[in-house]
């Protein structure tokens, strides 16, 4: 069996030698380069634009403005299409605009023979703006008479859920506690920036190569944005240098397609600089959350309610889906109560927020697990005991969607974590530190989904072709973005086919003209949703192999089986009838019988089980220096069956690292008055270097999810959810201040300590 073992990544060799080719590693004869003319202000209307100097600058092919782009308004979110018009993503963008809604919004674009010439020409475009009021906060954007950023006003969408009588549940609680929480704007900082190019060989066929997580969705949206049939667009996705949700958006592909169309099909590339990625790709939504929790004296949570305001910036992108998804993902963790959730997503003049690892859950869980901590402290209960009393059990039902929990390891995550972390001992020891250097421990839990169903249709596909030598090529449109999906898919196919996983070559490049349909990498969905398609296709392929071996041998197929890549007698598996290559060669070349083996499957997933987990952390707080140091941190995860332990650990470490950055250092600093981003680079935006992170520890509580093809559940995003609130809770214990806004930088810690009179 390959699944369950730490097979090496199928792409590791190509990546350590630098031979793996990413979008920017491809070049074409005659390729041109495009650069945007971007707004230096966060809100305004173009009064005058003069492109004449840029047009005549040597080496410039063309300059286009908002007057030149198609009249099709389009959405950009990386969601599956919906047949229900009410569920379609908000379409609020044109390729270029004269109403700039955030710093970096694009009014024109220059195409030239090289990057430098394009940049020079951009500087020659003269633009005068009428400045409009800049709105960066909910209060400003939602004020009466606020300038409408889009025709429908500044409220993108709102919702309210209550799974019972909230008022009554709070009234029946012995204690009701409230809090207000703020989470910052993060940027994904995938190491590969956003890059795409497009060209045409025929008038009805645009070929786009792009650093995208979602090739099939890009195909659809390019079709919409240019008003052409979707089948006229071909999207190719090579190796991808990280996405984390930013590239779960249609970014530069429609513009590349437009430019090549206008320029007779010559290849045109757009590569955003790191600085442009901050202001003009996507960010994480900042949430302001008012929370309320009601508990009984004996430690039972009766109800909690969150009231969310989500700031989506100048355009919708994923818009309200982020806030709405949180309400689907978090209720699993404490299911036996009344759950209330109100959310409003609004436009502002901030850079556009979109999908980012965790998709609303990290923000909502920060509020929830801070509230839960308040309740535990109020009751004088150990925070682990309090959570153990309330967390999900097998057979519980999600209070919102009423789905039964059929695999549930959160109790064991907490009990094993308590033991591994020596929680009781450490917690008792923390109290000893009363001087300037204090200690504290914290814990926080989470739940998450395993795909997007039923919010979106969940389709995936797999195609298997056996080569002459008995090896197998596997095609999927689920995308490898660094998480290791290509490797796990090979392991799945190998196990079903009973061949070594090194015989399966996962075709890493997606090509929407060829690869079976699947929307791509998001929602931690791929191992869960592609699993059944691979299972079906590989089962079919195996049947074909055995049937042909039966034809060759004259034995009934029911007597034959495959073991370790050989066709054997089912009853005597040590007796080898054929090597796999012998069967495959016969299938290919026997003049009278058989045909080469292939199989494919497309599968719609209609289940979406929750994964669970928690974080234990110990911090040291240097009170005079306002400095937080993590002494130890441990994540525990119930992600069902672990398909590849080494890759799984890698996902957890990466999520923990990103979460620690998000909780302690990372924040896009944006001037509240002007909407201008102050730290749009990797020097000033503090994502963790290797010096900033502690050793990261993790452990898996393996359950078997019965609805899953291979027993697994989601894993990619979950590790980022609980470290933030666990750190907040540990810092509270250590320093004696509740800090309900992230990140907890030295500056913010100083403000709180000073206010509390502690320094």
């Amino acid at each position: 069996m390959s699944l369950g073992s730490s097979s090496n990544r199928v792409d590791a060799q190509a990546k350590v030698t630098g031979k793996a080719r990413y979008t920017d590693d491809f070049t074409m004869l005659g390729m041109r380069f495009a650069k945007y003319v971007r707004s230096p202000i966060a809100h305004g209307k173009v009064k005058r634009i003069d492109i004449s100097k840029a047009q005549t600058y040597p080496g410039v092919d063309a300059v286009f403005t908002y007057d030149d782009v198609p009249e099709f308004i389009f959405p950009t979110a990386g969601h599956a299409h919906s047949l229900d018009p009410n569920k379609l993503d908000v379409a609020d963008r044109y390729l270029l605009t004269d109403h700039v809604r955030h710093q970096g919004d694009a009014v024109a674009i220059v195409v030239a023979c090289n990057q430098l010439t394009a940049e020079r020409a951009v500087e020659l475009v003269e633009v005068d703006y009428e400045e409009l009021p800049v709105m960066t906060t909910a209060d400003q954007a939602l004020a009466e008479g606020a300038y409408p950023l889009h025709p429908g006003g500044n409220v993108l969408k709102q919702q309210a859920i209550a799974t019972g009588d909230l008022e009554q549940a709070f009234a029946e609680s012995d204690f009701v506690l409230e809090g207000a929480y703020h989470t910052p704007i993060h940027q994904h900082c995938h190491m590969e920036t956003v890059v795409s190019y497009a060209y045409m060989e025929k008038d009805d066929h645009i070929i786009i190569v792009s650093s995208t997580q979602i090739p099939h969705i890009v195909r659809r949206v390019v079709g919409i944005s240019l008003g052409i049939p979707w089948s006229h667009v071909r999207v190719i996705k090579p190796y991808l240098g990280g996405g984390f949700g930013c590239k779960q958006d249609v970014l530069e592909e429609p513009m590349c397609a437009f430019l090549t169309m206008k320029l007779g099909g010559i290849p045109v590339k757009i590569e955003l600089t790191r600085e442009e990625c901050f202001t003009a790709s996507r960010t994480r939504h900042s949430f302001d959350i008012k929370g309320k929790i009601g508990v009984s004296r004996d430690g039972v949570i009766k109800a909690y309610a969150l009231d969310v305001k989500s700031n989506t910036g100048g355009y919708a992108s994923h818009g309200h889906s982020i806030a709405a998804a949180a309400a689907n993902k978090i209720p699993y963790i404490y299911p036996r109560l009344v759950f209330g959730y109100k959310a409003l997503t609004f436009y502002s003049n901030l850079p556009n927020a979109g999908a980012m690892r965790g998709y609303g859950a990290p923000q909502a869980t920060f509020a929830l697990e801070s509230l839960v901590e308040e309740a535990a402290q109020k009751l004088g209960m150990d925070p682990v005991d309090f959570r153990l009393k309330n967390v999900a059990q097998l057979g519980d039902f999600n209070p919102v969607n009423k789905k039964e929990i059929k695999s549930c390891g959160i109790t064991e995550c907490l009990t094993r974590g308590r033991e591994m972390f020596e929680w009781d001992k450490r917690r008792a020891a923390c109290v000893e530190h009363k001087g300037p250097i204090r200690r504290g421990v914290g814990v926080a839990c989470f739940s998450y989904g395993s795909n997007t169903y039923p919010a979106c249709v969940e389709v995936s596909g797999a195609r298997l072709v056996m080569n002459q030598d008995g090896t197998v090529n596997l095609q999927v449109s689920a995308t490898e973005i660094g998480q290791g999906s290509d490797t796990v898919f090979a392991q799945m196919a190998a196990d079903v086919l009973c061949i070594p996983d090194t015989w399966v070559r996962t075709i890493s490049t997606q090509d929407t003209d060829i690869s079976p349909f699947d929307p791509g990498a998001f929602a931690s969905r791929q191992s869960y949703t592609v699993g059944p398609a691979i299972l079906e296709a590989a089962t079919l392929l195996k049947e074909k192999i055995v049937a042909h071996a039966a034809l060759m041998s004259g034995q009934p197929a029911r007597n034959l089986s495959i073991r370790d890549g050989k066709v054997v007698y089912g009853s005597r598996p040590d007796y080898v009838l054929y090597e796999m290559r012998e069967v495959s060669m016969d299938a290919y070349y026997n003049q009278d019988q058989g045909q080469p083996f292939f199989a494919e499957s497309s599968h719609k997933t209609r289940t979406n089980p929750p994964s669970f987990g928690c974080t234990f952390v110990e911090v040291e707080v240097d009170m005079p220096l306002c400095k937080v140091t993590i002494k130890d941190i441990l994540n525990l995860h119930d992600s069902g069956r672990i398909l590849n332990p080494q890759l799984a650990e890698g996902q957890v470490h990466g999520g923990m690292g990103m979460a620690i950055g998000g909780a302690l250092f990372e924040e896009m600093l944006i001037d509240a008055k002007t909407g201008i981003v102050l730290n749009d680079n990797l020097l000033d935006y503090k994502f963790p270097t290797i010096l900033d992170l502690p050793d990261l520890h993790c452990s898996f509580v393996e359950t078997h999810e019965p609805q899953s093809a291979f027993g697994n559940k989601s894993l990619g995003e979950p590790p980022i959810i609980s470290p933030g609130p666990a750190l907040r809770n540990a810092i509270w214990m250590a320093a004696g201040v509740r800090i309900d806004e992230l990140p907890i930088t030295p500056k913010r810690l100083y403000e709180h300590l000073a206010r509390a009179g502690l320094i």
Partner: protein, 171 residues
């Protein structure tokens, strides 16, 4: 623009170029097909374009090609000998230190310099962190990167680099 002649050694081969003096070494190496040299920030913040110049890890995005005159340059491609990847590269494969792979060649080269610098010495995790501080990675949380480095240096088998054994140079 006047072109400037330079001579350098790239991955063991003597090469001559006529370069535009504005060209960065990153641009020159990529134009020669060395795709391991990745551009991720273009201003020396991230280390994705790291190569070894006379044995020292350098961000090639902020190093002019003309400065490479007379220098010996090593990139991740050149660490493969007779079709076999280097022990550092193999350690990155075996420990699971590779995810999206965009920062990987740069990390491999910085690690290669570290291994050569500390040959025969025991290394603690703190030293490894200090030496690798110029290479950003967004995928791994660096945990398995440290495992890869520990597997590459001359620490006693099984050493987790936590220190306390008194053998590390920096203890």
């Amino acid at each position: 623009m006047n072109m400037t002649p330079i001579q350098c050694t790239i991955n063991g081969q003597a090469r001559e170029f006529q370069v535009d003096p504005r060209t960065s070494l990153l641009e020159l190496l990529r134009s020669q097909g060395l795709t391991s040299v990745k551009q991720a920030c273009a201003v020396g913040e991230c280390g994705a374009c790291t190569v070894l110049i006379d044995g020292t890890p350098i961000d090639t995005c902020i190093y002019l090609a003309v400065w490479a005159n007379g220098k010996t340059i090593r990139s991740a491609e050149g660490e493969v000998r007779d079709g076999v990847i280097s022990s550092v590269q193999q350690a990155y494969v075996d420990t699971g230190a590779v995810q999206c792979g965009f920062c990987t060649p740069g990390l491999v080269m910085t690690t290669t310099a570290l291994v050569e610098k500390y040959r025969g010495q025991q290394l603690c995790r703190d030293t490894i962190r200090r030496e690798l501080a110029g290479n950003l990675c967004r995928c791994t949380g660096y945990e398995k990167v440290i495992d890869a480095v520990l597997a590459s240096v001359d620490n006693k088998p099984g050493c987790n680099g936590q220190g306390g054994c008194g053998r590390c140079e920096d203890e």
